[in-house]
């Protein structure tokens, strides 16, 4: 028999609903994490300080957690302003169209500016290769661009300061993107050097910042705008990062004093599977 509610008494349904929301949300979060880690490993890479920055915090800081920041190189968005075009651009008009961007309008037309201004960043999957062929090509093209700018620029004060300096730069370089992570993996099957992650790609009209000779019309260019960069380091691995000398990096050791083994699971989300600290 149903118990009658006293006057003013609120039914328990809403209380049960509030508790259920908390429990279900936690259950889903844990299941998501477990599913990512217990499924087949999508990729495993070992990265150094160049790719994973640790921002040291003093013991008095309000946040005691240890977080590494994934640092990557996008050949589409960063190239010194020289006459020769960047040879490693791959996020071009055809690729952007394949990723869902509307690239119908001729970039030279007078309405192109307002048309492409309306294109919002899109959610895709991107492939990043660690210390592979693309990275070596990037180093070589940067060195060539540095030499070219030196010869073109009469005033040394106006030479781009970081020209050709790639020895501190992240070797994790964007090489491809697709809407489907499985298709992307099929194109880049090396799981020891290529990671596939959710990414945000933006596009814009590029008016050639250098001095192209002969002058060229504007073109459509994409860039990797965002990927998941915060990597939580759990205990016991995090304890080693509390050493105040952990972030030391000099000309003789650009890779820093730690190596982090990252695994990417079924949901293309990473976790720290091991940390090696290198004593000098």
């Amino acid at each position: 028999m149903k118990r009658l509610l006293a006057e003013g008494e609120v039914p328990r349904t809403s209380l049960i609903a509030a508790v259920a929301i908390i429990l279900l949300a936690n259950l889903f979060a844990i299941l998501h994490g477990v599913r990512n880690r217990l499924g087949p490993v999508d990729a495993e890479v070992t990265l150094t300080r160049r790719e994973l920055w640790h921002l040291h915090r003093p013991a008095s800081d309000d946040d005691s957690g240890v977080t590494l920041r994934l640092n990557w190189t996008d050949p589409n968005s960063f190239f010194p302003p020289v006459s020769t075009d960047n040879p490693l651009i791959w996020l071009d008009r055809s690729k952007l169209t394949a990723l869902g961007f509307d690239c119908r309008m001729d970039p030279s037309s007078k309405d192109a500016g307002s048309f492409y201004q309306r294109q919002q960043p899109r959610q895709v999957y991107a492939a990043f290769e660690f210390n592979g062929r693309t990275w070596r090509a990037w180093v070589a093209s940067n060195a060539r661009a540095a030499a070219e700018q030196k010869s073109e620029q009469k005033d040394p004060a106006r030479v781009f300061p970081y020209m050709g300096n790639t020895k501190d730069q992240s070797r994790l370089i964007a090489i491809d993107a697709d809407l489907n992570p499985d298709t992307l993996r099929a194109r880049h099957p090396d799981r020891q050097s290529v990671i596939i992650v959710p990414a945000v790609v933006a596009m814009s009209l590029d008016y050639y910042s250098g001095n192209p000779n002969p002058p060229r019309p504007p073109r459509i260019l994409g860039r990797i705008q965002q990927i998941q960069t915060s990597i939580h380091v759990p205990r016991p691995y995090s304890d080693g990062f509390r050493n105040p000398h952990i972030d030391e990096q000099g000309p003789d050791n650009p890779d820093g004093t730690y190596r982090v083994k990252l695994r990417y699971g079924a949901s293309h989300e990473p976790w720290v599977a091991g940390v090696e600290f290198i004593s000098k």
């Binding site: 949300a25 936690n26 979060a29 309000d62």
Partner: protein, 367 residues
């Protein structure tokens, strides 16, 4: 009529009790004034009986529903409301900072257990206080901290598992806030819940179309539609237990709606309309002015003070924005501000005229 409540009185009873107390207090003041006494003089016996009855009734209402029976009490109640809200916000910050300060020294299962248990414990605290207090100061405070803890809970879980940023967490946060709001009759929690759910719906639409979910504000027309839906919800569901909730729906809906229009009037490139940005901006400026006027009219007709104020505020914002675009560049600054000041005076005169007419209308319908 005020129902006789148990210790746990519903919000409806409390609102009705407060209205009854306000009426009795106003009647006592009016009857004591010389002007009323000159036309309606009570005999000493009637005066004594009225005083005894009104005092007893106010005391009974105060005891049963904890309502304010004097102007000073009302002021103190407002101070308590502000203090409990500020206290709740400070406690939210304390919970988050305390956890951040020590979580790095804990193992992952302990971290997850602590953040999952904290909102449950605070919810139990809110339930406990709601059974013991007729006003909602401590219940509101604990509920707000419970919501903040639940937000921290999912943020930490997402961070521990390095989950890719997603809009999905907005749904349980919004649902939790709404459930607490309805259970304990808390308007602030309802407003927070509605905003979270609006954010979730807009972000889901954005993500479904393949865009980055966090930039849901880049499509203000989604928010425009959601604002209308939230505004209309009280028409579909009667709030018998929480009669003070429909104004919250209307205010949240109207603010979402007008902010979306204002955003489109300033930057038309984010619109779905297939026109040039400039035409879209002009369209939404005029649309905003018309709808703000409509909101003022609707608020007056339906006696919705919040909508009258919101409509008036946005009417002025749209008007001054338009004037700024027209005149700022070519008019001397002193002249621009002089014109704005003159317009302000004209608007005051127009509102005064409208107010006078409304007073006349009310006289006309009085038998």
């Amino acid at each position: 009529m005020i129902p006789s409540g148990s210790n746990r009185t519903s919000e409806e009873d409390r609102v009705a009790a407060q209205q009854a107390a306000d009426r009795i207090r106003a009647l006592r003041q009016e009857l004591a004034s010389d002007e009323v006494q000159s036309v309606l003089a009570l005999t000493p016996d009637q005066q004594i009986r009225f005083d005894e009855w009104s005092r007893a009734r106010l005391a009974a209402l105060a005891q049963q529903f904890d309502v304010d029976t004097s102007t000073s009490q009302k002021r103190v109640s407002w101070a308590m409301r502000i203090a409990s809200t500020l206290g709740a916000l400070a406690l939210c910050a304390a919970v988050v900072l305390f956890f951040n300060r020590y979580w790095g020294y804990l193992d992952t299962p302990v971290q997850l257990a602590i953040v999952a248990l904290t909102p449950l414990v605070l919810l139990a605290g809110a339930e406990f206080t709601s059974r013991r207090e007729r006003t909602r100061y401590f219940t509101g405070l604990l509920s707000l901290v419970a919501l903040a803890s639940f937000i921290l809970n999912l943020v930490v879980a997402g961070s521990v598992f390095n989950v890719t940023s997603t809009e999905r967490a907005l749904l349980p946060w919004g649902a939790f806030a709404a459930v607490l709001a309805y259970r304990y009759g808390l308007r602030l929690l309802l407003a927070a819940g509605l905003l979270l759910l609006i954010g979730y719906a807009a972000a889901t639409a954005t993500a479904t179309m393949g865009y980055e979910w966090f930039r849901f504000y880049d499509r203000p027309e989604h928010l425009l539609l959601l604002g209308v839906i939230v505004f209309a919800l009280p028409f579909m569901r009667r709030h018998l237990r929480n009669p003070d909730f429909p104004p919250v729906y209307r205010l949240v809906g109207a603010l979402t709606f007008f902010i979306a229009i204002l955003s489109l009037a300033e930057w038309g490139a984010t619109s779905y309309l297939p026109w040039t940005s400039e035409n879209i901006e002009r369209f939404y400026e005029v649309f905003g002015l018309c709808l703000a006027s409509g909101a003022i009219w609707l608020g007056i007709v339906r006696n919705w003070n919040g909508i009258v104020n919101t409509g008036s505020a946005f009417f002025l914002i749209f008007l001054f924005t338009r004037l700024y675009h027209w005149w700022w560049d070519w008019m001397p600054r002193y002249l621009f501000f002089a014109v704005i000041g003159t317009l302000g005076i004209l608007l005051v005169l127009a509102f005064k005229h409208l107010r006078g007419q409304m007073s006349g209308d009310e006289k006309a319908v009085t038998p």
